[in-house]
């Protein structure tokens, strides 16, 4: 509950600061639509030459595109801006102000900036998912929907913990934002099923930069081709990473000296 209340406060601040730049909304909407159009046109080109791609039917790939936009939107809405702000405040020494607040510091830094117009990606993602669901039709039952929600939650937690670990590195190193940029550009590879990639690359995308859990696994759940071990593995990885990132964050805080403040 506390999380939701805090999130609501930060969303309100985000809305208030962005309402001053309303034209940005249309620019953002235009760019999101363009990106979606690109993804769909790319799909159209590919499926004009084949009926299935690595065993995935067009509607299933469409669901994957929806998940890709949804998760990517969540990253750009909340995780990326907050983590970039964290890195900056470690550099500037302004993290002091956050640490003195009577609330869990990790919670505060994780919600501290909301780029509200990125909601367009999330809305588009839901739209694409809805279309994909309608076309997949009766094949999606309650079980698939539950598995999808669980996989999406696990994927979200994995991505968040991963970003937090990277951003926490800024307590020791200076140029961490470059690593974040690299992760952000690698996320693009998650637009296609990871099963297409050769073994070593798949391993890389599953464990080193966990885009596989963020996009492929939830889409697999919708298509009803998710096995229990994968789902449990995703849940376990999410739990482990969440605890690890928490411990790492605490170690970082202990190391923080607020030198430049």
């Amino acid at each position: 509950m506390r999380v939701l209340r805090l999130l609501f406060v930060f969303v309100r601040v985000g809305v208030m600061s962005e309402l001053a730049y309303r034209a940005n909304f249309f620019v953002q909407l235009f760019e999101s639509l363009l990106e979606l159009g690109t993804a769909l046109a790319g799909m159209a080109v590919i499926f004009s030459h084949t009926a299935t791609l690595g065993g995935w039917r067009p509607d299933e790939i469409l669901a994957l595109v929806g998940v890709y936009f949804l998760v990517g939107g969540a990253i750009r809405l909340l995780i990326q801006p907050s983590m970039e702000q964290l890195i900056e405040s470690v550099h500037e020494g302004t993290l002091d102000f956050t640490l003195t607040k009577p609330e869990d510091a990790q919670l505060l830094v994780s919600l501290q900036r909301v780029e509200i117009w990125k909601l367009t990606d999330i809305v588009l993602g839901f739209g694409v998912l809805a279309v994909a669901l309608a076309r997949l039709g009766t094949r999606v039952g309650v079980r698939q929907a539950t598995a999808f929600a669980a996989a999406l939650l696990a994927g979200g937690v994995i991505v968040y913990s991963f970003w937090l670990i990277l951003a926490t590195l800024s307590f020791w190193f200076i140029r961490v934002e470059n690593i974040l940029m690299i992760f952000q550009s690698m996320y693009e590879a998650g637009r296609w099923p990871v099963s297409l990639y050769p073994g070593w690359l798949r391993f890389f995308m599953t464990f080193l930069i966990p885009v596989a859990f963020a996009t492929t696994v939830p889409a697999q759940a919708l298509a009803g081709r998710l096995t229990w071990p994968t789902l449990l593995g995703a849940g376990a990885l999410a739990g482990v990473l969440f605890v690890a990132s928490r411990l790492f964050w605490r170690a970082g805080i202990r190391h923080y000296s607020g030198a430049s403040a």
């Binding site: 159009g37 080109v45 030459h49 009926a51 791609l53 690299i182 550009s185 690698m186």
Partner: protein, 267 residues
């Protein structure tokens, strides 16, 4: 001429030194340039496998060859002037550039070439690894190999001039990112980056041939792979030359008009 050469020598020294300071940024660019063709390569290989080994005359090994050469050609011809001009015009730092007694395009060319020279070993290293992993099939045609270098050089110049002219949009609007985005999406499909042009529908192919896109990326790639006839190669180079002249004229015109409306806001 000698004067210009001296200026370039000096400019290269400066650019080289300053680019070496931004190694991390160069690595990020590099990853983007490797990732996109790699994704396309993986996806199209899967397509060719699931449709019996070949799609529109491309086997998995042909796709590997296409996208690996595309990666190298794209690296040789890309520019990022859109981003620098947006920043320089918005921040007003362009004013100091305008005060120099030399057209700013020269320092941009030097910057561009130095950054590529610095990242070239990285690109070649990655290309060598990918070559081992994906086992591309090359059919070398001697005359086409000979024609490849001039075609690549023309492609670089045309792309540079076109994108440099487009970057000047920053003089008229502060929302350049939307303009750039449109251009990038067009380039993705029309210059053969998302798929070989022969696999795209006819209207797209037509647009890519009329606009400069095909001539800046896809044409040198197809030439290198020996997929063109001598007549097609000559027509392509003629198209490149035509775009070279046209873009030079456009650039001159747009630059003059742009500098007139530039008001150095924020400087």
């Amino acid at each position: 001429m000698k004067e210009l050469r001296d200026i370039y020598v000096q400019q290269f020294k400066t650019s080289f030194a300053s680019m070496l300071q931004y190694r991390a940024a160069l690595v990020i660019w590099l990853i983007g340039h490797i990732l996109e063709p790699l994704i396309s390569l993986v996806v199209w290989s899967a397509v060719s496998r699931s449709s019996g080994g070949s799609v529109g005359g491309f086997s998995a090994a042909d796709f590997a060859a296409y996208f690996l050469v595309l990666m190298l050609v794209n690296h040789a011809t890309y520019t990022w002037v859109m981003f620098t001009y947006e920043y320089q015009v918005r921040q007003g730092t362009l004013s100091s550039v305008l005060l120099r007694p030399l057209h700013p395009i020269h320092s941009d060319i030097a910057d561009n070439v130095s950054s590529k020279l610095i990242t070239l070993p990285g690109v070649l290293f990655v290309a060598a690894i990918l070559m081992v992993v994906f086992r591309p099939a090359f059919h070398f045609v001697p005359w086409a190999m000979a024609a490849f270098l001039p075609a690549l050089f023309l492609a670089f110049i045309v792309r540079f001039l076109v994108e440099w002219t487009l970057a000047l949009a920053a003089f008229w609007t502060t929302r350049v990112s939307a303009v750039n985005q449109v251009y990038f999406v067009a380039a993705l499909f029309l210059s053969g980056q998302i798929a070989p042009l022969s696999l795209l529908p006819f209207p797209v192919r037509l647009a890519s041939a009329i606009l400069p896109f095909r001539w800046t990326v896809a044409f040198p790639v197809e030439l290198f792979l020996g997929r063109l006839t001598p007549v097609q190669a000559l027509t392509g180079m003629a198209a490149q030359s035509a775009w070279l002249i046209l873009s030079l004229v456009l650039l001159r015109f747009v630059w003059r008009a742009g500098v007139k409306v530039y008001s150095a806001v924020g400087a």
